[in-house]
Symmetry: none
Subunit: 185 residues, 4 copies
DNA sequence: CATGAATGAGGGTTCATTCAT
DNA sequence: AATGAATGAACCCTCATTCAT
């Protein structure tokens, strides 16, 4: 019954609590209730395990965010949709978003995997670009513009995950509004 | 020249390039051109060394940002001043800001040190709070409001450090403007 | 075709190429195209497998050498016959002779099997002993005398296996002659 | 006091008794009365340790055999000298000769080191070659001729090491005589 | 203060062996 | 009889830390 899943989940759990730094295989084996050699039937080594975890979580988030996405909506609606979905993902899968947040810049994740373009993100870039063309969003470096929006919302999420404040409907609305104001004309 | 400084600088250099994960004492000794036992004259162990580094960099940034700060300026000017100084710090000390960014949430940094209130940050909180009282800044959770601003600017800086775009005067102005719009009424 | 044979042959192949040192069961399974558990239907463990291989190869060589042996020939003819047959065996079954050569003194082969008297060898001893009695072969320790002859021919074979020179009819004749001269009066 | 030597000696002892096959680092540490990490101050890994041992023993034997060698002696005297010295070395350093014997063809010893030409051997080759030129030694492949002599004497030594017979002055003389007869005209 | 050889607990990984299918 | 996923003891090796110099 899904040893692979068991191992990945145990790894995520442990990294969340103790940090990648101090997660040892011994802990993973114990937590996943699996023999020490079993991991190597699924992953060639520790690095591969963590990278695989990163990939799976990335895919999960991507799929979650894109679900029910309607291309034909107005630009603003699509913008809001994305941010709302990201907030929802964070609330539903705090460990996963925290993992992505913490290690998406870590050298432990292979450059190849780290820089793999995420379709969801590309879609989001397109929205911003379109907004600039329509004169709704301010002229500025496209990458920087994205960085502003995603940085803002993820920062708010991080604050929530660190128990600095609740993240209910109201706060989500306020944050999305902030994102929009930050880049609109 | 101070061995202590040599060790701290070597540590920062190595962490920047390879990540805390793979920085060993052996590498630090070699890079700092210091005998292996020497570290223990200054730091009790590796964790203490990293935490000390964290503290020193935090202080450095704090001092840098607060320098030339004028309490008597208008609220908006003070707001801009802080953000500009943070951007300048990032440009002048990329390794340091990157270190703070990457490890300020790591369990490797002791909770005590990580959560120590930074005077500079308190001053910034005060500005936001004052703005809300004066009806210039939107009513929202104070912590969240701060998270929005700092998250936004640091995200832009991160993008710059990752070579996604340049960070000249124009971009800094745009970013500060975005910060302000994101939270003003 | 017999799985048992497949396993033994795969083992011999691998040992020849990589040395007993680095031959693992995993490699044997793969090379023999056999499930990992299958070996245990035939051999109780790895040591037994290797010892069994040793035994089989020993028997094979013994049978090969004794084939067509004529007890009624002159002593010198019988002497030449044996040595010629050993050389032929080496040429026809290089992996097998190499295996015997390399591991006949290894502690990995159980003492019991290693020291089991080989009928063929006994026959050879008898020839030497007879030669000494007849005053054709020099008086010296019987074991040492055998050691001289077998060591000489096997050394020549080893050189051939290591590609130091060819081993044609001429060389075989020369070697046998050397053997004879080395021990005759 | 000579940890490096301690480790090399412990390794040789263990290999002699148990075979390279089953010599683990744990056993070496224990036998050498050395901390487990200490080995790595002298050797990068196990393979390097064994190869280094091989090299040192090879040098030792070479030096031993060449000692007191007189180039101006007659060819036959020089021939005898070498073989006598090899026998003496075997008697005085049985573990070392056994190690060389067993592993000089093992893939565990790097090809580079294994095939490094030994000056002593070259000198011996020269003697044989000279003998052939003078018409004292039979015409045959030079390498094979050497293989005959060295194989013969080493085989006798091996028999002695395996307690098959004593190896006193008489036996040594007989063996050297056999060597000479085996290749002379 | 400064050094670096020595240490050994603990890390990731291998691999002979088992057992349910 | 045949399989191969699962196992865990034991492997090699790393690295923070100590201590005699």
């Amino acid at each position: 019954m899904g040893k692979r899943e068991d191992i990945l989940m145990a790894t995520l759990d442990l990294i969340t609590v103790e940090g990648l730094q101090s997660v040892t295989f011994a802990k993973i084996f114990k937590h996943a209730k699996v023999g020490s050699g079993t991991v190597y039937n699924y992953f060639n080594n520790k690095e591969e395990l963590v990278n695989e975890l990163y990939k799976e979580i990335g895919t999960h988030m991507s799929n979650f965010v894109i679900e029910n996405y309607d291309v034909n909506e107005t630009l603003y609606e699509k913008f809001k949709f994305f941010l709302k979905k990201m907030a929802e993902f964070a609330i539903n899968y705090p460990k996963e978003i925290q993992f992505l947040e913490n290690y998406s810049h870590s050298p432990y994740i292979s450059e190849e995997i780290r820089n793999k373009p995420v379709p969801t993100m590309n879609e989001f870039f397109t929205i911003i670009l379109e907004g600039q063309k329509q004169g709704i969003i301010r002229e500025m470096n496209l990458m920087m513009c994205c960085q502003i929006v995603t940085g803002l919302i993820l920062s708010v999420i991080r604050g929530f995950l660190n128990n600095k404040y609740p993240l209910g409907e109201v706060e989500i609305q306020q944050t999305i509004e902030s994102c929009w104001k930050a880049i609109k004309i």
